[in-house]
């Protein structure tokens, strides 16, 4: 298996507070890596390091390295190009104050695409993949902000796919989505992994169990263990705290 992302000894500080205590792991190409762990364990910080949006927060320092296809992401000068290689879905749905069409066409347009036919094709494909097309195909001109919460979250996913990323990071995407839609999106993710690498941060351990090829368990800024999902969810993962967290006996 080819290594897509290589994280080595990654440390992140917010001011005096250490959010990641030097973690190392690899992400393989075309796998779904589930990342589970309680609040404050550094999951979201990890994703923000990978697409370098942590730089927007003040007073953060990053040590260690993150390599994407063998290239250190902090040596990449075209940071916007880097972010286009990574699709990011945040926990709370954000419909941009634009039409549904323009929401999805936003990223291709910022990358310089102008041809109507190509944009049309991208918008339809991404909305299809995000399981939203059938609900909005007749009103692509209406505002993305007027959609329901669950629809906006699927719009967010469509946007994340619109710049054809190599890596898709999902940060608890299902918080605002009903269970049936969650299942539909999960089915989409299973097919998407043929095209891209997926990092799935989730609070629903069962979601990781359903989807992930491998699962990482994080706790208080440490990577406790990372292994095949079958092993993590077996009766004897390497760490007792992993077992406690998954079985709900935590603390």
């Amino acid at each position: 298996m080819k290594t897509k992302i290589q994280v080595s000894d990654l440390k992140v500080h917010y001011g005096n507070i250490q959010a990641l205590n030097g973690i190392s792991f690899d992400v393989y190409e075309n796998e779904i890596l589930g990342i589970i762990g309680p609040a404050q364990s550094g999951k979201t910080t990890l994703l923000k390091v990978i697409n370098r949006t942590l730089e927007f927060a003040q007073g953060t320092t990053v040590e260690g390295s993150v390599q994407l296809d063998g290239v250190d992401i902090y040596s990449i000068r075209d940071v916007h190009g880097l972010r286009r290689r990574i699709g990011m879905v945040l926990p709370l749905p954000v419909g941009l104050p634009l039409s549904i069409y323009d929401n999805v066409a936003f990223a291709p347009r910022t990358a310089g695409m102008r041809k109507k036919a190509e944009l049309d094709e991208i918008v339809e494909r991404c909305l299809q993949q995000a399981a939203l097309w059938d609900e909005v195909k007749d009103r692509l001109d209406s505002l993305g902000t007027k959609l329901s919460g669950g629809q906006q979250q699927r719009l967010t996913i469509a946007r994340a796919l619109s710049h054809q990323p190599e890596i898709l990071c999902l940060d608890e995407f299902s918080i605002a989505v009903d269970p049936i839609t969650t299942m539909r999106i999960e089915d989409v993710l299973k097919t998407l992994k043929d095209e891209m690498t997926i990092l799935l941060v989730t609070n629903l351990v069962q979601q990781a169990k359903r989807l992930a090829n491998r699962t990482a368990f994080m706790l208080n800024g440490d990577l406790i263990e990372i292994d095949d999902t079958d092993v993590i969810f077996s009766d004897n993962p390497a760490s007792q705290s992993t077992f406690d967290y998954i079985t709900g006996n935590f603390g």
Binding site: N51, T53, F56, Q58, H80, G81, L82, R83, R84, M88, L90, L92, V94, G95, L96, P97, L98, F106, A107, T110, A111, L143, T145, T156, R159, A160, S162, H163
Partner: protein, 305 residues
Amino acid sequence: MNSNTNISPETMFTETDIGRRNRFVENIFKAFFFLMTCLMILPLLLIIGYLFYKALPVLSLDFLFTNPKDNMRAGGVWAPFLGTIYLVVVSLLVAAPIGVFAAVYLSEYARDNWFTRIVNLAVVNLAGVPSIVHALFGVGAFVLFARLGESILAASLTLAIMTLPVIIASTTEALKAVPMSFREACWNMGATRWQTIRRIVLPNSISGILTGVILQVSRAAGETAPIMFTGAVFFKPIVEGNPFAYNITEQCMALSLHLYTISTQVPDVIEGIPYGTAIVLVGSVLLVNAAAIVLRIYLRTRKKW
């Protein structure tokens, strides 16, 4: 299992003592706040009504379009009226772009470091500087140092310096009203800061920005001190009815200074003329403010979240 088992459908909707008291207090406060609102409006209505009543004998279109005559004891306000328009327009043409773009830098690009902290401190303090101090600065910087002489340009630049900090502050507020999550969503898709500003931030804050700028019209039009040493004169007749009668390198009359002059410096002025001048000044400011409100309502109906 439930300690309140005595709650039956009948007792549930009868009013309790605490409910009655809450309702009483609620009404008292509502009436109190309403009274305060009325008190606030009363002086405004009285002032405008009184001005109108006193100005009625002189008010006509001719009053607006004729120059002051007979040592300002007769005639209209054309020269000062046009002078005020010149001063306001030129000062806003300078202050609005600089203020808005500076605010965009400060709130969208700048990191929180010593430089931006000093700039923000300067903005807050400049907004509190008395206008007579701005006048002295204008004399030193524009009239003498920049050798603009006493002119519309020097006076307008002085007004611009005075309105700049408020424009920066109001624009910053308007930009902050756009949720941070919109920006983050754009950045996550690889949009640059400029692409984010142009496509998302500015279209959704333009109503607030314009309102803040237009409200500065009334300040620029009303101030006397900053212009009286830098470009406004007591008397200077111009071609009546020609909106391009002034040259910005020359001096001009202004409504605020004209009102001051005819009320205090010229004896035996017909009573209606100062009131008429005040009506023209207040009226044109209110007109601009009303336009700002209409514009804001129009732009708000197009707000997208």
